[in-house]
């Protein structure tokens, strides 16, 4: 049963007409064409599908799309302001926290949500907060450095 779902997507009021029990990940990737959010495991175990909903990091592969009604959704496509990268994006780029790039969107949004909650993250808090985001290129050292450099 299709339903109309209204929400804010990357700062823009958005309305979609979809089956409410579909997962947010696939609605983003197919209907909305926002392919920056990645499928990795389908079970909320790897974090590559992470988006930010009402300032909290959420695994979009386990999130029913009907639950975004009235909420603010941020995906990787909304993190930069035009051509100006978000400081986290800049830090990932410059510190070398990116290799194949497939986990990167999820890493960035998970880190973004952590910093919203606490802009002064310690190294231990970063490690704890990022622990459920997997990176097979194993760029962990530089991902931590990048987040540390943005933390105040």
């Amino acid at each position: 049963m299709k339903e109309t779902i209204k929400f804010t997507l990357n700062g823009k009021p958005t309305s979609i007409n979809v089956e409410g029990d579909r997962t947010l990940l696939w609605v983003l990737r197919t209907d909305l064409g926002l392919t920056g959010t990645k499928f990795g495991c389908g079970k909320g175990l790897c974090g590559s599908c992470t988006v930010v909903i009402d300032k909290k990091a959420v695994r979009s592969c386990r999130f029913p799309v009907k639950d975004i009604s009235g909420k603010e959704v941020l995906t990787i496509e909304g993190l930069a302001q035009g051509d100006t990268l978000h400081p986290l994006q800049k830090a990932f780029l410059e510190q070398g926290a990116v290799q194949c790039g497939f986990c990167t969107s999820g890493m960035l949004l998970n880190a973004y949500a952590l910093l919203l909650e606490n802009p002064s993250l310690t190294r231990d808090e970063i490690i704890k907060g990022m622990d459920n985001n997997l990176c097979r290129c194993s760029a962990h050292t530089r991902i931590v450095q990048a987040i540390e450099s943005v933390s105040t």
Binding site: W26, L79, V98, I127, R136
Partner: protein
């Protein structure tokens, strides 16, 4: 243009290609072809282009277009390892242009000549020198043209950022674009080009931020799963419950009733397709199927005896001296057996492909390390001409050896042909774990000996199913043999294999296991004669590069000598991979019976280092990834059934496992660049296992070094 009459240029200009569409790609400007591949690659390429009137013995080319832009065409692909950036640095520096005027076209089977695949840390090591040569050749052509056009002696000309000028009269200048305009110069690199010495590098040797970084941090980078068409169908394919299972019966009626679902059941390919991948998934789950599963109860515990008992005859390498004599002169003999289970590459991007038919042509976007063999496999399966199948360039979300095969691309192409629609096939994580070509379980048996002064007298090395990469001898051993039983490739390269499922390549195939065994054995011998493990290594190797990485790693670590077990939890490992020497020192502790790695120092001699930052990112990534095979990763199975299914039961390195990693490059500018994508992963297992012995006086002979195995060793 007048310069077209240049005698020097005309004389050595090769005939253009006979192949019309290829000539279109080459177009106008200045083009230098070069060979970077093996003899096999050149032969395959020659076969493709035979009878077409052009040169055949090349794998790559570089073009300076009429607008002065530089494009490098190579069949290698970017997997995250950063070869795009380092190769562009080489071309830009040799030519004398800025980095941003170089475009890399990679892995596009239409535009790029044949390449065997991106593996073995070969992009920089093998392609690199040839690319530099081609760029130097192009630079020479440009200088000759400029000399004629400006009427100035070549010796007086300088190049800066794509402009050639007279150093005595800077107003006399001409750009690369002006020189290339109207030209149709094609040249084959014959190895005569003089490349820049290290002292003249301006872009090589610099830590350049990766060129694909912005696309990746903004989510704009397109991977094969990100290709979209309005009528795209997502296909899920029916998979058997076990390897080797054969289908007895299938009932697709439920799936067929689902609105919008297309069911395909053709020649063993059973798939459900829908515009919504989740509905395709529900449809495939609704299919009822029965399989005959072959008997087989070998599992992760019994596999080792099974493999040894079914091993083929060995191949011998590096025979030296007399083994019986070696045994006789040894004061102490050591016989040990080392084990390692199966592993998965587990890139975060699962195997994915998108295929679309355009008339009589098929375009395919594939997460792959081997676009050209995928192209021919698709063509063969579909009965098409290879040149009508185009593998398009896309970003690849990690390979690690797992994407040397891409059967999902053949499935996507078949389904696109059957349905007439563009089709995407992607593995869910469970399929990815089930369908990967596993790193083979392997066994190493070593018999070694030392004399009463701690000199190695005997090395009788037997490796089963890991292959001999990393097994080569770098210690000075008078009586030596290395026997290899079965390859690391298992069934991947065809032929029979005692493995219960297909096995294949995993980052630095086999070398992780060989170095684990070999460097553990070295420590066992050092401990027996109560000698510091670094001193023991230095006493037994005269290889200057190995001595240097060991000594520099020790210095960086602040290592003080002590025989193991010292209680400190410090261990060494070293190795050679892809021409690169690496030494690592691990420092560990035990937390609730499990190993916690606190620190790893790594010293890497890779010859000339093109991009230090990029190189260190690879070493650090290798070390962290190496902690997975060392400590946690293992495949659980029985016969052809695989129980490992997702990240909850395949434990990969995560942030909480992160040690302090201090990796550095040991400068060696006298040597051409060597491999960088894999060496760092090779000594991790050994360094950690040796640190465990140093800490607790116990040795675990099977990876991963789990709490359970440590407990058993303590008992």
């Amino acid at each position: 243009m007048e310069v077209n009459n240049s005698k020097e240029i005309q004389k050595s200009t090769i005939d253009p290609f006979g192949r019309r569409d290829f000539m279109k790609i080459v177009g106008s400007g200045i083009v230098v072809f070069f060979a970077s591949g093996s003899a096999i690659e050149s032969a395959v390429h020659a076969a493709q282009f035979r009878g077409m009137g052009g040169p055949t013995d090349f794998n790559d080319f570089l073009k300076i277009a009429e607008d002065g832009s530089v494009t490098v065409f190579t069949g290698k692909v970017e997997l995250g390892q950063g070869n795009t950036t380092a190769l562009a640095q080489m071309a830009a520096d040799e030519l004398g242009v800025s980095l941003d005027s170089v475009t890399m076209i990679m892995g596009d089977t239409e535009l790029c000549p044949y390449d065997m695949g991106t593996f073995g840390s070969m992009s920089i090591r093998v392609l690199g020198p040839q690319l530099r040569g081609a760029a130097a050749e192009a630079r020479e052509i440009l200088l000759v043209l400029a000399s004629e056009q400006l009427d100035k002696p070549k010796s007086q000309l300088k190049i800066e950022d794509g402009v050639i000028y007279d150093e005595k009269d800077r107003a006399a200048r001409v750009t690369f674009g002006q020189l290339a305009k109207g030209q149709k110069i094609t040249r084959k690199l014959e190895g005569r080009a003089v490349t820049k010495p290290v002292s003249e590098f301006t872009i090589m040797g610099k830590s350049i931020t990766r060129l694909d970084g912005i696309a990746k941090v903004t989510g704009k980078a397109k991977y094969s799963g990100d290709i979209r068409f309005p009528d795209l169908l997502y296909a899920r394919v029916l998979r058997p419950p076990a390897h080797g299972a054969t289908l007895k019966s299938v009932d697709t009626s439920e799936a067929e009733k689902m609105p919008g679902v297309v069911v395909v059941n053709e020649d063993g390919l059973i798939a459900a397709l829908h515009a919504d991948p989740e509905i395709a998934g529900k449809a495939i789950a609704s299919i009822k199927s029965e399989y005959d599963i072959p008997a087989g109860d070998v599992d992760e515990n019994t596999i080792f005896d099974h493999l040894v008992n079914n091993a083929p005859r060995p191949q011998e390498r590096e025979p030296k001296g007399d083994l019986a004599e070696g045994e006789k002169i040894s004061a102490t003999l050591f016989e040990e057996t080392y084990l390692n289970g199966y592993g998965a590459q587990a890139p975060i991007e699962t195997h994915t492909a998108c295929a679309k038919i355009d008339g009589d042509r098929m375009n395919v976007w594939i997460s792959t390390q081997t676009p050209f063999s995928n192209q021919s496999e698709i063509a063969r399966t579909l009965g098409m001409q290879s040149e009508n199948v185009r593998v398009m360039p896309v970003f690849v979300g990690g390979g690690f050896g797992g994407k040397n095969s891409a059967p999902q691309a053949v499935e996507a192409a078949r389904l696109a042909k059957i349905t007439g629609k563009p089709v995407q096939v992607f593995h869910d994580r469970e399929e990815e774990f089930f369908l990967t070509v596993y790193r083979p379980a392997a066994i190493v048996k070593i018999k070694s000996g030392i004399d009463d002064r701690g000199k190695i007298t005997l090395w009788d090395y037997n490796v089963y199913f890991a292959g001999d990469r990393g097994a080569e001898q770098y210690y000075d051993v008078p009586n030596n043999v290395i026997r290899t039983y079965g390859s690391a490739m298992g069934g991947m390269m065809g032929g029979s294999s005692p493995h219960p499922f297909a096995t294949g390549t995993w980052r630095a195939p086999g070398a992780n296991m060989n170095i684990f065994a070999k460097e553990s054995q070295i420590d066992i011998m050092a401990a027996k004669c109560k000698m510091d493990p670094l001193e023991f290594r230095l006493q037994n190797t005269s290889d200057p590069r190995m001595r240097r990485v060991l000594e520099q790693a020790a210095k960086r670590f602040g290592y003080t000598p002590a025989a193991a077990p010292s209680g400190r939890g410090i261990g060494f490992g070293c190795g050679i991979d892809a021409g690169t020497y690496i030494a690592e020192i691990a420092e560990i502790e035990l937390q609730n019976g499990s190993i916690k790695v606190k620190k790893i120092v790594a010293a890497q001699d890779m010859g000339i280092c093109i991009n230090p930052k990029g190189a260190l990112m690879q070493v650090e990534g290798c070390i962290m990834m190496g902690l997975g095979y060392t400590l946690t990763e293992d495949i659980s199975f029985k016969g052809g059934r695989i129980f490992t299914s997702n990240f909850h039961n395949y434990k990969m390195p995560r942030f909480s496992m992160l040690p302090e990693i201090d990796a550095f490059i040991v400068k060696n500018d006298d040597l051409a660049p060597q491999g960088g994508g894999e060496p760092g992963v090779v000594p991790v297992g050994a360094a950690v296992a040796n640190a465990l012995y140093d800490l607790a006086g116990i040795r675990v002979f099977q990876m991963p070094l789990t709490a359970e195995r440590i407990k058993a060793a303590q008992a």
